[in-house]
Symmetry: C2
Subunit: 406 residues, 2 copies
């Protein structure tokens, strides 16, 4: 096949540490094909698609592209706009006006849905267009994917953060709560488990949005660990909900009953951690309680990246172009695990991925709903990549006391 015309690429949703690897994989691979007349990049996702804000990536040096590939966050910029059918219809008109014949959209399940609708517009208009969705999301919540590009690097950040926090809390005691991204899927929070090396290492407790969160149960869990070790490190997903499905942040705020004069809304990022810390301080009487909300650090931190994630993000982009060019296909690229540890890439129908959310399977969550299983560690470890440092504790013998003889 040699459908001639332009390639257009966009990046959607939240940035990741490796989304530019995918972009560069597409650009460099597409520039090899003679039927490709130009390679364009849309600025700010669907906003750029609507407004014809394009960069001509045919005129970008290979050297700078390789540097961009190593740079976190979306080099084409992004948007949170979720286009409706009318919006997608306008996008299609733009693609047609520019003779775009290959459309690649790197994003999550909302982005897959945009590709699906634009593709249907093209079919209805009998306009020959190859439309491909390429996965990315730190949440790891795309169905039919073993995992998604971006997750491995964010998971590595979370594991490295909790490794340090575990050592810090070991040195100074107390309770530590780390709030991790993930509104519905707990994969990123669960990656904190890789921080456990020695038997009494934290995180000692992990709370995921896949299980109902009960504050009394949580306090009991913390007390049990703290009484035994004198410290307790907890990983909490920002998306934890109570029995009725109400986010814990909202239900804790209600209990506390703030008279805010209409001014104070505690939706700032630190609020959930601070409120849970208040509960621990107030109800368990533990004085040293700290909470950190990992926030934006976990998805864009410079230099914390999984080499496996980098390679897969790059290949997903390359394979997307190859499948469009050689096999004349539309669809969504998926990553499939074939061994320990190996993957391949397949194309599935856009409607199979679009708008759907994958959650942590039951076998990855422990019975008590406050930690992960070994099956999850086996699943996640390869995704974090090579060169993950292993911390070491002193193992020297204790000295016999003289003045305070035991």
């Amino acid at each position: 096949m040699s459908l001639a015309g332009k390639v257009l690429i966009a990046q959607g949703g939240g940035p990741t540490a490796v989304i530019n690897q995918t972009l560069v994989g597409i650009v460099l691979e597409a520039r090899k094909f003679p039927q490709v007349t130009k390679v364009y990049g849309a600025i700010k996702g669907v906003e750029g698609l609507l407004n014809e804000d394009f960069l001509d990536l045919t005129q970008e040096t290979t050297h700078n592209l390789e540097q961009v590939a190593l740079t976190p966050s979306s080099a084409l910029l992004s948007t949170r706009v979720k286009p409706d059918s009318k919006y997608c219809h306008e996008i299609f008109k733009v693609l047609k006006a520019h003779d775009v014949r290959y459309f690649f959209y790197i994003g999550g399940n909302d982005s897959a849905d945009t590709v699906r609708i634009v593709n249907e517009e093209a079919k209805m208009a009998k306009y020959d267009l190859r439309a491909i969705h390429v996965p990315k999301t730190i949440d790891n919540d795309l169905v039919l994917n073993d995992h998604t590009p971006g997750y491995g690097s964010a998971a590595r950040f979370v594991a490295q953060a909790f490794t340090g926090i575990n050592l810090d809390t070991r040195a100074l005691s107390g309770v530590y709560l780390g709030i991790v991204m993930g509104r519905n899927a707990g994969f990123l929070t669960a990656a904190s488990a890789i921080a456990q090396k020695y038997p009494d290492d934290g995180p000692h407790l992990i709370y995921l949005p896949e299980r109902k969160f009960n504050t009394d149960k949580f306090l009991g869990d913390v007390k049990r660990i703290y009484d035994r070790l004198g410290r307790c490190v907890v990983a909490v997903s920002e998306g934890i909900k109570d029995d009725s499905g109400i986010p814990i942040l909202a239900s804790l705020l209600k209990d506390i009953d703030i008279d805010s004069h209409g001014n104070l809304t505690l939706s700032g990022t630190g609020a959930l951690g601070d409120l849970l810390a208040q509960e621990v301080k107030g109800k368990l009487g533990i004085s040293r309680v700290r909470s950190d909300t990992f926030g934006y650090l976990q998805r864009s931190f410079l230099g914390c990246v999984s080499d496996v994630d980098q390679q897969e993000a790059r290949e997903a982009g390359e394979r997307a172009v190859q499948m469009a060019m050689w096999q004349d296909l539309d669809g969504s690229v998926t990553i499939n695990r074939t061994g320990f540890y190996s993957v391949d890439y397949r194309l599935v129908k856009l409607e199979e991925v679009a708008g759907k959310t994958k959650l942590m399977p039951d076998e990855y969550i422990n019975e008590d709903s406050n930690h992960v299983t070994d099956a999850f560690k086996y699943y996640v470890r390869p995704l974090l990549g090579s060169g993950l440092q292993s911390p070491a504790l002193l193992r020297a013998p204790k000295v016999t006391k003289i003045l305070r003889g035991e």
Copy 2:
């Protein structure tokens, strides 16, 4: 000189990424001297000194010590206890009982004061003791030191975090507030400036505790940047204070006037960022405003370390032993800059460092009190070490619009 007896080492205050380099530098160097009968480590700083909780580090393998050196946080554990004279007197009795003749305490200016008092106890008792303070603090606030071990690695974390945050905010617009540690000295917050590579890169504003913080001035600064760029990245020190020296956190809380029923105290770590974000949202009408409080991540994050910092922390420990053994001296080890970039180590009197705090000099802060100068960048850059990744932006030309022709 060959004063025979034991070596005792302790670590005080907050952990850093390289405090174990100093510990291991002392242990390995001390084990070379024949007059050293044993090398002990006190568990939990002064608490271990009081309670005779010692590890016999003479019986620790060199291999494991080298692994511990690479591990963040205090391997001997730490404490926030600040001993008084009576406490120090008890410590001296313990040192004497164990025939400790060389006492090394790795810590900040409070730790230096503990060494000073213990040393005076020894002199009064005519007990021959070499007492040496070895510097560490991420705050970089020890006088007579060009900088302190631990600062470079924490500064590298802050620079890497803001590099990513700058790219993230570039992709999705809005205002971002990053709250950085530093109650009195702004060195760590100031290191965020290294994230600026391209002319419009953030952090666009940096607020330090060395200057009075005025909320209206802050809002004006943010508005000016946001109007020009559509985004604004701000680094804020946790220790910023108003005209009367009251922490901004406290003064903002007062304005908001919460009816807490005696329950709600917003002293959790996310509070300052959340409150400043509320101000920006409410008074500037900007909808996308995010804040992260870097919290404990910045001092213990695994694998984010400056090689320069590692090397200096190690050498400071080695030199401490050498000065005690070969030159029969007491004092505080200091790092002195001798070139761009080279250092040497000197010993100063304990009372010259103990209990004193170094702040950012005026020449490092801009006239408008909302950023740093090039002099500061020249000062700080070598401390962050080698291999700091440089992010890259796309520089491809824009494509001419067809439907929405300009």
